[in-house]
């Protein structure tokens, strides 16, 4: 489970995240949607422990910067950054050893096959295309079988097969009881699988809706999104 309480992140004079509060339960896929510059990536980076922040973030009950929390989450960055001089296989071996994953080889093989990287095992990080780098990031994040997965614009740069595979993986993670947080500015890309939508604007969560709420009230998520991001009054409340 992921719990974010009062998350605030300030860069000099810019308030990138302004008192964010939300939680993602086990078996739930939350999507953080918002226009460019809304503060989605900053929030994800704060949760991943890459940035300093004010507030509290707990991963499976542990503060996000503790070893216990790190053991429980996987992170797929917005811009993939493979290690230039390690091969694809070595990336997975590195993650397995760093996270102390026992019997990792079969898991690694399965992930590589699903992402169609199995024939690229001996390719160096710097030889991979942007899309392949992103696929490798996904494999690395999922190898330790995390209970919380953080994805920052994960579909950008992927080919259609990888997009389909990643969407299947996300629903599988949900079935396994994983809490998944996906940040994106493309509403269409997450339409099929979201359980909770956090609409962000100007560093704040402007509205929170669950799929059940939307379905019961007949509200249109896309209309809500545009009414918030394009400034119209809609009464969208943050919960």
């Amino acid at each position: 489970m992921l719990e974010v309480l009062d998350l605030t992140k300030k860069y000099r004079n810019t308030l990138a995240n302004d008192h964010l509060n939300f939680r993602v339960d086990p078996g739930e896929i939350a999507v953080m949607i918002g226009p460019n510059g809304a503060g989605k990536s900053t929030a994800i980076k704060c949760i991943a422990g890459l940035l300093r922040f004010n507030g509290n973030i707990a991963v499976c009950g542990y503060p996000n910067k503790t070893v216990e929390a790190k053991r429980n989450f996987g992170y797929i960055p917005e811009i993939p950054a493979p290690i230039e001089t390690l091969t694809v296989y070595e990336h997975l071996e590195f993650i397995a050893r760093a996270y102390k994953v026992e019997d990792w080889k079969d898991k690694a093989r399965t992930l590589l096959e699903r992402m169609e990287l199995d024939d690229k095992r001996k390719k160096l990080g710097k030889e991979l295309s942007k899309g392949m780098q992103q696929k490798l990031s996904i494999c690395c994040a999922l190898l330790p079988e995390p209970k919380v997965v953080l994805m920052d614009e994960p579909l950008i740069g992927l080919d259609p097969h990888a997009i389909k595979e990643l969407k299947t993986m996300l629903t599988e993670l949900r079935e396994k009881g994983c809490a998944v947080l996906v940040s994106t500015h493309m509403l269409d890309s997450v339409r099929d699988f979201w359980d909770k939508a956090l609409i962000m604007m100007d560093g704040k969560i402007a509205a929170v809706r669950t799929r059940a709420e939307i379905e019961s009230t007949g509200e249109d998520l896309e209309q809500l999104f545009f009414s918030i991001t394009e400034g119209a009054q809609t009464g969208g409340d943050a919960r």
Binding site: R12, K45, A48, G49, L50, L51, R52, K65, V67, E68, A69, K70, R71, Y75, P77, I79, A81, I83, E84, T85, L86, T87, Y89, E90, E93, F94, I95, R97, A98, Y99, K100, R121, K122, K123, L124, K126
Partner: protein, 538 residues
């Protein structure tokens, strides 16, 4: 043309406004300007010594010639391969696609390049005080020297552009340009060696060769050197001749380039893109990007990290990466280059100070000079150590291990590299110079300890100034911090030197070694939780 003038005007205006909006940067520039002023003032108010008490002016000729040579040759050689540029990506994106004439855009590029050459000249003036005091030259003579360097940077950039445009995709042209370049180098080397042949291989004949007016007839390098020293000596006719020759080269290159190749965009595009990526990497502190562009890893034959569990895998990952770049871990190309520089330095110092005779330079002193120079060079190598590069990737922050364990294992190769380099360099120099083994050993220890203090200083600056966005300021703060960290050891050694009579030179090094090691351990202990509060540089 109106659009370009508007662009220049706006760029200048916005740069000034931006500076006013960043008081820290403004203070830094004012501080640097004050330092420069002081340095020049110090130069003008120096006491005038007896003419014979200054070092041979031939040394200045030699050093200056070497600087011009080192700016020119690699630049032209790289230009043959990948071209040159004085355009930025924004010029490519906005100007190249605009309906402005390519020739006007070229003129704009030239003006900007000239401005940046002048700007570089200002920074070179920081060495003014030292040169003025050392050689007894005036401030204006120093200005002439620096202006010559700025001029060669500008001229060479232009020639490189022309050379690339002329030779791109035509191996036979590349071949003959290389032949011309090597012939010029060969003639200069042959001239210097012939002086050795006729007057003996000693200091005087080396300086006489380098200060010789004949060498000044070598195109561009010689002309600019000749012009600068003619100005310094008040020989206006000679200065005018060399200035005219250089002006002809500049004008000819511009004309040839613009006339023969109005479609030059493609020629500069690749280099502009690479330069942009390089600058972006440096701006972001991503030296990995810089390194990635310049090094070609070995072909992958086997794959696997094989060792490490938890935090220690960072160390073994670094070893695997080292093996991929060089066959033997820790023995990098830079280690070999550093060794070669030291061997050449020792050879030259020994040769010009009278060989291995009793009145020649003592081997201990040569080792100390080599140590100082190697430690200075190590500063730049260390800045791109495995540890620094690890901070640019998310893994060091994400891996579920204690921050100190990650800090230790991730910096271990950076700490061990200078140990290996130090042992190799000073073992080879010690044998070559038949130096006292204890002196060589102390040099190894000191060199390794300098590596420790550089790494520790880096950790500390990340801990204190990790949030600092301006990388220039971060570097400045890092250098100031290093001076402070080195003070305890240097202070104790100085006190020992002043208090104990006839203390052996080797003993003076030990307090520095002990202090560096203790300070480094202290910093690692104090910053053990640094990774918990650090922010990834992205």
């Amino acid at each position: 043309m109106k659009a370009i003038l508007y662009l220049i005007r706006k760029e200048i205006k916005n740069a000034v406004i931006d500076l006013l909006h960043h008081p820290a940067r403004l203070i830094l520039y004012l501080f640097l300007a004050a330092m420069l002023g002081l340095s020049l003032l110090n130069g003008t108010e120096r006491e005038v010594r007896e003419p014979g008490s200054y070092p041979d002016i031939g040394i200045l000729h030699g050093v200056y010639f070497a600087i011009l040579f080192l700016i020119t040759v690699p630049s032209v050689l790289s230009g043959l391969k990948s071209g040159a540029t004085f355009f930025r990506m924004s010029d490519v994106n906005f100007l190249f696609v605009s309906p402005i004439s390519p020739k006007k855009i070229l003129a704009y590029g030239l003006v900007k390049q000239m401005a940046s050459s002048i700007f570089m000249m200002i920074f070179l003036m920081f060495y003014a005080g030292m040169a003025i005091n050392l050689f007894g030259i005036t401030v204006w003579q120093m200005v002439a020297l620096v202006a010559g360097i700025a001029l060669i940077v500008f001229t060479i950039q232009l020639i490189t552009l022309l050379v690339y445009s002329y030779s791109s995709g035509r191996p036979e042209r590349t071949g003959w340009i290389k032949t011309v370049l090597y012939a010029e180098i060969g003639m200069m080397v042959a001239f210097t060696l012939s002086n050795f042949w006729f007057h003996g291989a000693n200091q005087q004949s080396l300086f006489a060769a380098l200060a010789s007016p004949y060498l000044e007839f070598a195109p561009v390098i010689g002309w600019i050197k000749g012009m600068v020293f003619a100005i310094m000596n008040g020989d206006t006719v000679r200065a005018a001749v060399f200035a005219a020759l250089n002006a002809a080269v500049v004008a000819g290159s511009v004309l040839l380039f613009a006339k023969s190749n109005s479609d030059y965009y493609e020629d500069v595009l690749q280099t502009t893109e690479s330069t942009f990526e390089l600058k972006q990497a440096v701006k972001d502190g991503k030296t990995a990007g810089v390194r990635g562009m310049n090094t070609q890893p070995r072909r992958v034959t086997d794959t696997g990290i094989w060792h490490g569990w938890g935090a220690s895998v960072f160390f073994f990952k670094h070893i695997r990466e080292m093996k991929r770049k060089n066959r033997i871990p820790f023995l990098r190309g830079t280690s070999i280059v550093l060794l070669a520089i030291n061997v050449i330095l020792a050879f030259v110092l020994r040769a010009i100070s009278g060989g291995a005779r009793d009145d020649g330079m003592p081997s201990g002193l040569i080792l100390v000079i080599a140590l100082s120079m190697s430690s200075y060079i190590q500063f730049f190598f260390n800045a791109a150590g495995d540890w620094t590069l690890e901070l640019m990737k998310p893994y060091i922050y994400l891996v579920p291990e204690k921050p100190f364990a990650k800090l230790f294992w991730a910096s271990l190769t950076t700490l061990l590299t200078p140990v290996v380099d130090g042992v190799i360099i000073f073992a080879v120099l010690g044998v070559m110079l038949r130096a006292n083994p204890v002196t060589a050993l102390v040099c190894m220890l000191l060199y390794a300890s300098m590596g420790f203090i550089y790494t520790a200083g880096n950790v500390l600056s990340q801990r204190i100034f990790g949030q600092l966005v301006n990388k220039g300021l971060l570097m400045f703060a890092y250098m100031l911090m290093l001076i402070v960290l080195l003070l305890p050891g240097a202070g104790i050694s100085l006190a020992l030197y002043l208090l104990v009579e006839n203390i052996p030179l080797t003993l003076l090094g030990l307090p520095v070694f002990i202090s560096n090691v203790l300070v480094s351990i202290g910093i690692f202990a104090a910053c053990r939780n640094m990774l918990s509060s650090a922010e990834m540089n992205s």
